[in-house]
């Protein structure tokens, strides 16, 4: 039995709602398969009010052992570091205090979603709530628990980042932890599971042919590549969204809008707008991370010159207007 305590703070609850979208199999069956016991989850458990506060007390007094503490939503430190922006109901105690205490009791601590990992959307703008992540404040290590913090099993906070998280990202890491198979090497430099961050959103994107020829969408909804004009960060964003479908067969790119790199710290801060590509001298500033800029520019101008008419036509349309043909034999 692997006990999970799941708490929510400064977020939208969307990662839990996304978790309920798990399929083949459903979330309950996934957890059952790994002998995971949801000791408490805000959407799924019977215990409420006094029963729940008693459970927290039992954990703090070592009467109940938790294997994993999952936090969804950012840590609310405001106003002025008091944590009053989220007092856990019925307890008169700031949620951030509960979290510090409970993290010491958990064998593993997980940040579910970019809010809990880095601050996320709740930390946008001037960050009125003083929101931060469990072990990061945006890109800066630290957060609530501090840079050096490790759980009793020697793991830092495992950052299952995303806005929201894909249900598989969450169920897979929990099942790996429950079976004792998750290793340090399975986490990336931001302590996110490499199971999905070894990929780029670009991988498997249905718009790849448009990218190859720099046949670009001009307005939102066009089927061309959205990197040049529409702010798409898929070539930099670390996630498998176009390999592992969302809600059956979806993805942001498939839905006709750009990747906003929601698995990354500080994705919530934009230079211009989420759907507009910042450029210098007409060249997008956010080029693929590991490609020399000069090569990119050279290849882009070469491929633009070679763009088939079919792609030029389709890139600025909302559906295929010029389908691929069969090459005639005499050509």
């Amino acid at each position: 039995m692997f006990n999970i305590l799941w708490l929510q703070s400064g977020g939208c609850g969307g990662c839990s709602i996304s978790l309920l979208n798990a399929e083949s199999p459903d979330v309950m069956t996934c957890l059952k398969s790994a002998d995971i016991n949801l000791l408490w989850h805000p959407s799924l458990s019977e215990a409420s009010m006094d029963e729940f506060v008693q459970l927290l007390d039992n954990i703090l007094t070592d009467k109940i052992v938790i294997d994993a503490l999952c936090l969804e939503g950012s840590v609310m430190q405001g106003p002025n570091g008091t944590g009053r922006f989220h007092m856990l109901a019925g307890t008169g105690k700031p949620m951030m205090t509960w979290l510090s205490e409970l993290a010491e009791k958990a064998n593993y601590t997980l940040a579910i979603g970019s809010c809990a990992a880095f601050g996320g959307i709740t930390a946008a703008g001037n960050n009125p709530g003083e929101a931060c992540g469990l072990q990061y404040d945006g890109k800066v290590e630290g957060g609530l628990l501090g840079k050096q913090w490790l759980s009793s099993t020697g793991f830092p906070v495992i950052n299952v980042a995303g806005c929201p998280t894909h249900p598989d990202w969450v169920t897979n890491v929990l099942m790996q932890l429950a079976s004792g198979e998750l290793q340090h090497a399975d986490l990336d430099e931001l302590n996110r599971p490499r199971a999905y961050t070894d990929h780029l959103v670009h991988h498997g994107c249905a718009r790849n042919e448009y990218y190859e020829y720099k046949a670009s969408a001009e307005t939102l909804g066009d089927i061309g590549c959205m990197m040049e004009h529409k702010g798409c960060l898929g070539t930099q964003a670390r996630a498998d969204c176009n390999i592992r479908p969302w809600n059956g067969a979806g993805s942001c790119l498939g839905g006709g809008y750009p990747c906003i790199n929601c698995t990354a710290p500080e994705f919530e801060q934009t230079q211009l707008s989420f759907t507009e590509t910042p450029k210098i001298a007409g060249i997008p500033v956010g080029l693929p991370t590991d490609m020399p800029k000069a090569w990119f520019v050279a290849l882009a101008s070469l491929s633009k010159a070679a763009t088939p008419q079919r792609l030029r036509d389709n890139a600025i349309a909302t559906k295929i207007v010029n389908p691929p043909g069969t090459k005639k034999e005499h050509e």
Binding site: G14, S18, E46, C252, G256
Partner: protein, 483 residues
């Protein structure tokens, strides 16, 4: 007289605290506190107007599409445009998908598990309810989660993903639907219809929609004893849930599923002191901050004059939630409000007999599942794959706009003001802001605060399960309430 603090509630979205005063074993006063403040209205200041479409859905993971649509409508109003016909159809299909999935989640995962509690083990229906609905182990959850997840494939096709899509735009949707998408959508709807018609209702949706009175409902229950709906009605009857969480009917709806030629469920007000349904005039909406931890304004303000600045030192404050009022009146919003304003004969009859209560709120939600799914089928058939889905327009450098929509939990409004091409003010009133508001300057309690009065909880307040039924009957969304 004693005081008791209840919280945290789970199986609601977000965190909730309720304080009650108990006199002779009954609730004599209640104070509802929304204990989490994030500050979206502050976050949006100075942002590019269209970026509201990225931020606002993330107010709430369960009402994400409603937030997108309210924002898109506010922007469209500022731009002076109407969405393309296809875009309206696609947006309404996506919204209906979210709303119906939410109704289903509420019934199966949030509300019914409370009746599997040990406190009810002497009830004749207990074993049946426990085996079907007990939290985490009941047989219904797995069946329902599969049906729900497959139903939400609609968003995979039309919105990219759910929650938090950027497909909904002021002029329509970034997605289009091909002829092959249309038939796929209809197949998904058929699959969901089968779940509803075998598990929830054990009857055709059209037959459920036609139940037109309390007597007809009682007859229907006898004829369809195997359905989850009947099981609820049976236990509601023995526990007299119609006497729980009672408030006088004061309903508001922004109008649900809007098209150029009107709404599926109309916009309006149904208020105790005026007969019939009256038009909704959004100019009469005010937010009262007298009992909120918010920097006070002298008078309640319309959202276009509204300011959201937290101030935990407000001595009269007891919640981060503001108190929205319509023409000075407390309003209840949600499925029941929509169905009363749409004058559905079953709910009109139930409310005429027993006002607004726990049973009527649940019945209204389940009735919407039966009424809306056939409309979704019709909207899918009306999609025209060869016509455009999205109208493009510039955002003016100076403008203001209002976006009103019905989320699963009721009336949601966004008000945007744009100056020098940036958002200068953005105010949001969410459904549970209406239902779970604190008192106003005239000391009028919010809808839940009224609904809790006279509830028997025992002298020490320990028989709190009734409180939980009342709270959950509103299907509260606390992350929307204060955002």
């Amino acid at each position: 007289m004693t005081r008791k603090l209840y919280g945290p509630f789970n199986r609601v979205e977000g965190d909730l605290e309720v304080e009650v005063e108990i006199t002779n074993g009954k609730v004599s006063k209640a104070w509802v506190n929304s204990p989490l403040y994030r500050g979206f209205e502050q976050i949006m200041q100075g942002k590019s107007p269209l970026d509201a479409l990225v931020y606002t859905p993330r107010i709430c993971g369960i009402c994400s599409v409603s937030q997108s649509i309210a924002s898109a409508h506010a922007l469209a109003d500022a731009q002076g445009i109407e969405a393309e016909a296809n875009g309206q159809l696609a947006s309404n299909i996506i919204l209906a998908c979210e709303n119906l999935a939410d109704h289903l989640t509420h019934f199966y995962l949030f509300f019914m598990p409370d009746f599997a509690r040990e406190v009810y083990q002497q009830q004749p229906w207990y074993q049946q309810v426990k085996s079907r609905f007990q939290a985490q182990v009941g047989t219904a959850a797995t069946l329902m989660l599969k049906a729900r997840a497959e139903f939400i494939h609609i968003t995979g096709i039309l919105a990219g993903k759910w929650p938090h899509s950027l497909s909904i735009q002021p002029g329509g949707t970034t997605t289009t639907a091909s002829a092959s998408d249309k038939v796929k959508l209809l197949a998904i709807l058929m699959s969901f219809r089968q779940f509803l018609e075998t598990q929830l209702f054990a009857d055709r949706l059209e037959n459920v929609s036609q139940i037109d009175s309390e007597d007809a409902l009682n007859t229907w229950v006898e004829q369809h004893p195997q359905s989850d709906f009947s099981l609820f009605l049976k236990l509601a009857n023995t526990l007299e849930l119609h006497k729980l969480g009672v408030i006088k009917p004061q309903f508001m709806s922004n109008g649900a599923y809007g098209f150029d030629d009107g709404f599926l469920f109309p916009r309006g007000i149904s208020s105790g002191h005026k007969k019939g349904i009256t038009p909704l005039d959004s100019q009469l909406i005010r937010e009262d901050l007298s009992h909120s931890w918010m920097l006070a304004q002298n008078q309640p303000a319309h959202p276009f004059q509204g300011i959201t600045l937290p101030d935990p030192e407000q001595t009269e404050g007891y919640s981060w939630c503001k108190a929205p009022r319509y023409d000075g009146q407390v309003m209840e919003v949600g499925a029941l409000a929509r169905q009363i304003i749409a004058q559905h004969p079953l709910l009109v009859d139930l409310v005429a007999k027993n006002q607004s209560n726990v049973t009527t709120r649940i019945v209204a939600r389940l009735l919407e599942l039966a009424r809306v799914l056939p409309e979704m089928e019709s909207w899918c058939r009306q999609l025209k794959p060869n016509d455009p889905f999205c109208r493009q327009a510039e955002v003016p450098s100076s403008a203001e706009g209002q976006g009103l929509v019905e989320a699963a939990r009721g009336s949601l409004g966004h008000w945007i003001q744009i100056e020098k091409g940036k958002i200068s003010n953005y105010q949001i009133i969410a459904p549970t802001t209406w239902n779970f508001s604190p008192r106003d300057m005239n000391n009028n309690a919010g809808a839940l605060e009224q609904a809790l009065l006279d509830t028997s909880v025992g002298e020490a307040g320990n028989q709190a399960v009734a409180i939980q039924h009342i709270v959950r009957s509103f299907d509260p969304c606390m992350v929307c309430t204060v955002h």
